[in-house]
Structures are given as structure tokens and as C-alpha cells.
Amino acid sequence: MFDDYPRETVLKDGSCVLLRPATREDEEKLSEFFARIPDNERWFLRDDLADPTIMRQWIEDLDYQRVIPMVAVRQDDNRIIANVRLHRRPAKCMKHVAHLRITVDPEFRQQRLGTWMLIDAIKLALEIGIEKLVAEFVEGVEEAAIGAAHKLDFFEQAVIKEYVMDPQGNYRNLIIMVKNIHREWSDF
């Protein structure tokens, strides 16, 4: 599954970033990374991974059969600057589905880093036989990620109106986007 990692990518500013699977040794750097995500965005994460206790648990539970966590590491200073997670369900009826979650360091947005992380996740999904990638985004908060997902052929499958609450107590829509990973070409 991780045959050709780490993989290089070059950002718009010319800096080099390595994509690779996260390991237990990344615990501290991952905590630091999530601590750099603004509070109003971290609010929407399933778990507050900036909290070292929660991160410790997350790292201890690391199981690539269940979650594939990929990180982007800046070559200059070894900083983790993005993370994408592919979550798989153990149920046989869901083995063709993976849920994707992505977080990018604010300092490295608008550099195509998120796009490369999404592409990497799609290639991994293809490699492990996933046929449906599902991503959930909060409307009005994750517009850049929604735009990038659209460009990679994710489509809006559903919108759950006023589903999540923001820090100010307002309800926001949750957009569920899906990308089908086809097994063959169409006969059309």
C-alpha cells in the first residue's frame, strides 16, 4: 500500500513537501500541527487533536486497516503542514467506502497542498479497492476544500441543512460530497 512513499510534491512557491503515512513517531509534530489550526476551524473536527491526551490516544489506536493517516512534511524544517485521513469501516457492506477528512496548515493554503493531499488520498483509495470516497464539509467554513474537491470530480451528494453548530451557536449546513472511483471505463 505504501510502496512508493515518501512522495515528493512541489508547492506553488517552489518549496518541496514529502507526503507519507503518519507513524507513532509523529505524535508531537501532529499535536503541534493541529494546534496551529485556528480555533474556529478546529471546533468542527470530530476530535480535538491539538489536545495531547487525545492525540496520544489517537496515535495509540493507529491501525492502517481502519484509518490511513497521511501527512505532508515540509522538507526545510520537517514540519507537518497537512493531514488527510481515510477512514474505513469494518462492516463488509461498507468495505468499498472510505470517508475522507483533510486539514491544511493555514500558512500553506493557496499553495495546492490540499489538492495534492486529495490526489494522494484518491490514489490510495484506488490502490486498496475503494469505490466510493465520501467527504463532509461545513458550508461557509471549508469553501476552499469544497472547490478543490469539485475540481477532482467529487460531487455534492447531499446537504444536511443546519446540521452542525458553529462557535457562535449558529447552525450550518453540512455538505456531503462523493467521488466514485470507477472499476472500468464506460461502454458508452
Partner: protein
């Protein structure tokens, strides 16, 4: 000795490149591999019927004179598999990128693994691996960056019964033993389909400067 064992022993036996390698096959008789087929040989060959146009698949190279041209070009190389001494049942070919392609910006440093195909009628012989192996028996690969574009519109899914993911894995599996790795690029044709891929092998004598140029070129940064 099975056919596969025979081919592996022979390809690993010596650094010298033999002109022809003969293998016994139980069903088809003599199979001959020519690792570097001279251009003048091609007019004597005939293409097997399993190479050509099919309902959902079209061979990359369908005419013998195309092979001839590749073999006659500077740096061009064609390895062939022949049955009965003249029926071409498989080939692998490599060449330097042509002008206008992104990779030509690094000149003759770049070397494309341009085509590998085995006739639909002879896939049970697992010739693909042998045809790649014989191409790679060349020390000049250590001075080059060899690469392959994997475009799914060239894949014979119907003829193999494979899914896109399985076919992709099969092709990559032919190159990985030789040190090829999938690397990312923003080359638009690669990005057209998620199953498309770009693999590269950087020779051991390629300088750090050229490695960096290649990395930047993959992402469209030509002057860095």
C-alpha cells in the same frame, strides 16, 4: 525448468547483452527474444493477430515500420518476442521524448519506457516481465531518468478481465523490481484520470542538480 525460470536465469546470467535468446515453450514451439532488435530486421517479421484493433482496445503500435523507425532513431530501442522465428507476439520499446513534450526540456537525460504489449493470444506466457527485464539490462539507465506514462485509455481491460485498479497494479509491478516508483506530476494527461500514473527511475549516476531539475519539471517549474 519452467519457461519463467528459464528466462530469469538467462537474463541474470551475464552482463553481456545477447543478440537472441531462445526459449522452449510446450505449446508454441520456439520463442525467441531479441533484446535490441536492429531496424533492418522488422520487414522480415509478421505481427500476430492478437496485436491490432479490437472493439475496446487498440494496440499502441500496429505497424512494423513504426517499430523500424523507433529502432532507427537515436536512443530508440525495441525488444521483441517472436514465435516461429518471425511472428511478433510481444514488444517493449523505449525512446527519448520528442520535442514539444514536457520531458524533452531535460534533453537526452530523459528516456521514456514508451510501450509494452503482449499479443492477446500469448499473454499466458507472461512475456511482459521478460520484455521489460531485457530492456533494463543496460548500464546507460544509470545515467538517465527513465519514465513511463500510464494512461488507462491504452489498457486492455476487456482482454484481461481486469479492473482499472488491477491493471494499474499489474503494469506498476512490471517496473517496480527495476527501481521505478510512482511520482507525482501536474502533467495534464496524467491528471485526466485518477488511475493514470507516472513512474520514474532515477539512475545512480544522475547528478543532484538534474534530480532537482526533474523534480521541478514534474510540477511545471522549468527554470528552477
Amino acid at each position: 525448468m519452467t519457461r519463467d525460470e528459464s528466462s530469469e536465469n538467462r537474463t541474470g546470467a551475464s552482463d553481456a547483452v545477447l543478440d537472441e535468446r531462445i526459449f522452449e515453450t510446450s505449446e508454441e514451439g520456439m520463442l525467441c527474444i531479441i533484446p535490441r532488435c536492429p531496424p533492418e530486421k522488422f520487414p522480415d517479421f509478421a505481427l500476430d493477430k492478437g496485436i491490432g484493433n479490437f472493439s475496446h482496445y487498440r494496440s499502441i503500435i500496429q505497424k512494423l515500420d513504426v517499430f523500424q523507425k523507433i529502432a532507427a532513431t537515436e536512443g530508440g530501442r525495441v525488444a521483441v518476442a517472436l514465435i516461429r522465428g518471425r511472428v511478433l507476439v510481444g514488444y517493449s520499446a523505449c525512446w527519448h521524448p520528442s520535442e514539444g513534450e514536457r520531458w524533452s526540456k531535460l534533453g537526452n537525460l530523459m528516456y521514456e519506457m514508451g510501450a509494452i504489449e503482449v499479443s492477446r493470444n500469448y499473454r499466458h506466457l507472461k512475456l511482459g516481465r521478460t520484455l521489460v527485464n531485457v530492456l533494463m539490462e543496460d548500464d546507460s539507465f544509470e545515467d538517465r531518468i527513465a519514465y513511463m506514462n500510464g494512461y488507462s485509455w491504452h489498457w486492455d481491460l476487456d482482454g484481461t478481465g481486469m479492473t482499472l485498479g488491477q491493471y494499474r497494479k499489474m503494469i506498476m509491478g512490471l517496473l517496480r523490481p527495476h527501481g521505478f516508483k510512482e511520482v507525482y506530476t501536474n502533467e495534464p494527461n496524467i491528471g485526466l484520470r485518477e488511475e493514470n500514473f507516472f513512474m520514474a527511475r532515477i539512475g545512480s549516476r544522475v547528478s543532484d542538480e538534474d534530480r532537482a531539475r526533474f523534480r521541478n519539471l514534474r510540477f511545471g517549474l522549468v527554470n528552477r
